[in-house]
């Protein structure tokens, strides 16, 4: 009885009988990534597909771009998948990364109440931000140092406005939740298109500004520098990076979400230059 229980205990913990095709020394690959990757549902699909096509298993933590890069900068992950170009370049300069590959992009949209009290509909994103600030219409910011948050703060900077005051609300929560808050408070917010499409039926906000070049959001995969952090599973990290940019995965990314939302959520970009995506 006790032995049977002990076997059950060990099995339950190490997940006995999980299928592996070829064996590798370290099958577990630790990925630090962004919440939008998980909230869109693409992470679960990619993780299952990666496990099917390689001898590796993905262990992913979805924490936001800022935290993901911080985890990578301590060597606590093997590979990071993020979207904040400036922070990524700083990360590479500090010698924390090895390979950095362009994988895909999606785009941000400015959403707000259908009544559009600040009259931003159809404007470019900078004029729209100026109009929101000038009319002191409520704007919900993610406020959580996620890639979206960093992106939004950077747009304000380019606009030349330092948003502050009661109209600028920092929600410090995920994208889905932030959209709900914006809908409930009749406020504006910046969202990635994928999360907006996923939540569209439950919220009362419309897309007001979109398809503006500054709103393109680019995702890179970065393998953590194994020379700096010897504990890193470099083979597994490289396998995941190569998997993401492979033709098959790129097709998977392009088709993800089309059946559910009628349009793709992400656009594959492997092999392109950063400049070509903008």
């Amino acid at each position: 009885m006790i032995r049977a229980f002990a076997i059950f205990l060990v099995c339950a913990l190490v997940a006995c009988g999980s299928p592996t095709q070829r064996t590798v020394d370290r099958p577990e690959v630790l990925l630090a990534t962004t919440t939008s990757f998980q909230d869109s549902g693409l992470l679960d699909v990619v993780a299952a597909d990666f496990q099917k096509h390689t001898p590796y298993r993905l262990r992913a933590t979805a924490v936001g771009t800022g935290a993901a890069l911080a985890i990578g900068a301590r060597g606590d992950a093997d590979v990071v998948f993020v979207h904040a170009a400036k922070e990524e370049l700083a990360y590479m300069q500090q010698g924390n990364g090895d390979r950095r590959l362009l994988v895909m992009h999606n785009d941000f949209v400015l959403v707000g109440p259908p009544g559009d009290p600040a009259h931003v509909r159809g404007k470019n994103i900078f004029d729209a931000f100026r109009a929101i600030a000038a009319s002191r219409a409520t704007f919900i910011s993610r406020g959580d140092k996620s890639g979206t948050d960093i992106f939004e703060k950077d747009l304000w900077k380019q606009t030349g406005i330092a948003p502050a005051g009661p109209w600028y609300v920092e929600a410090a929560t995920g994208m889905g939740q932030t959209l709900t808050i914006a809908s409930e408070k009749r406020a504006y917010t910046l969202s990635d298109r994928g999360t907006f499409l996923a939540r569209r039926s439950q919220i009362e906000v419309d897309i007001l500004v979109q398809r503006d070049p500054p709103l393109i959001n680019v995702y890179h995969v970065i393998t953590v520098n194994a020379r700096k952090f010897p504990n890193v599973n470099a083979a597994g990290a490289n396998a995941f990076a190569d998997y993401l940019v492979s033709a098959e995965t790129q097709r998977l990314i392009a088709s993800f979400g089309v059946d559910k939302y009628g349009e793709p959520l992400f656009f594959p970009d492997a092999g392109k230059n950063d400049a070509d995506v903008r």
Binding site: A60, M175, A198, N231
Partner: protein, 232 residues
């Protein structure tokens, strides 16, 4: 309001069809919280019994520390366990970040003080004359402890149930150290949070229903144990 009915309808169909995601999250939650509770009982009952019977300097301080432990904020435990099991941390060589093992550790830390504290109270509330009588009959200290624990078994069961009830509905620590990986470390609470942020309320309601059912079962056992003891 539509959303609630729609969610409840989808919840029912997912429960009836044994939806694999719902099944996985339920079994993961039961395995992780079950093992964490078993470990806290295995270590917490002897520790609590000892703490309930012994008299030594600093005992009250120790008891108040244990009682403080009953109210440990899960996110604080999650933070500490995460820092411990990150590769750069002292237990980094175990490579437990984003695994069930790390979740068991975190939930153990959350459940054990409850088991220790309630066991100590249970043992203390057994008639003190029994201990004297046993000593008079020549029982060893270990035998006395064993008999007292058996005497207090129902309150100790309540202690175990309280520990399980606390960790099965916990999210903060489990999310931080387990990472919410589908089919592995995704448990009821973390799945509910994720499904809600994805706007998949049907699935969230189905999971919430199962969680409520589990919490109800725990409380039913606890109530039974408490009521049964009353005639004494």
């Amino acid at each position: 309001m539509d959303l609630i009915f729609q969610g409840l309808g989808e919840a029912a169909s997912r429960l009836v069809s044994l939806d694999p995601d719902v099944r996985d999250a339920t079994s993961a939650a039961l395995v992780v919280s079950g093992i964490a509770t078993l470990l806290s009982v295995a270590t917490g009952v002897p520790a609590g019994a000892w703490l309930g019977l012994s008299r030594f300097r600093g005992r009250k301080l120790l008891l108040s520390l244990v009682n403080t432990g009953m109210g440990l904020p899960p996110v604080v435990v999650g933070l500490f366990v995460a820092v411990l099991v990150w590769r750069s941390g002292p237990l980094g060589s175990l490579d437990w970040y984003c695994t069930r093992q790390a979740m068991v550790v975190a939930q153990y830390v959350l459940a054990a003080p409850t088991v220790v504290g309630l066991t100590a109270i249970a043992i203390q509330s057994v008639d003190p004359m029994l201990g004297l009588q046993l000593a008079g009959l020549g029982a060893t200290r270990g035998q006395t402890l064993g008999i007292l624990v058996r005497e207090a078994r129902l309150p100790i069961l309540t202690a175990a149930m309280a520990g399980f009830g606390a960790v099965i509905s916990e999210i903060g620590a489990s999310l931080m150290v387990g990472c919410n990986i589908k089919g592995d470390t995704r448990i009821l609470t973390t799945a509910i949070a994720l499904d809600t942020s994805k706007g998949e309320f049907g699935s969230a309601f189905a999971l919430a229903f199962i969680l409520l059912l589990l919490v109800f079962a725990v409380n039913a056992v606890t109530t039974w144990a408490q009521q049964r003891r009353r005639p004494l």
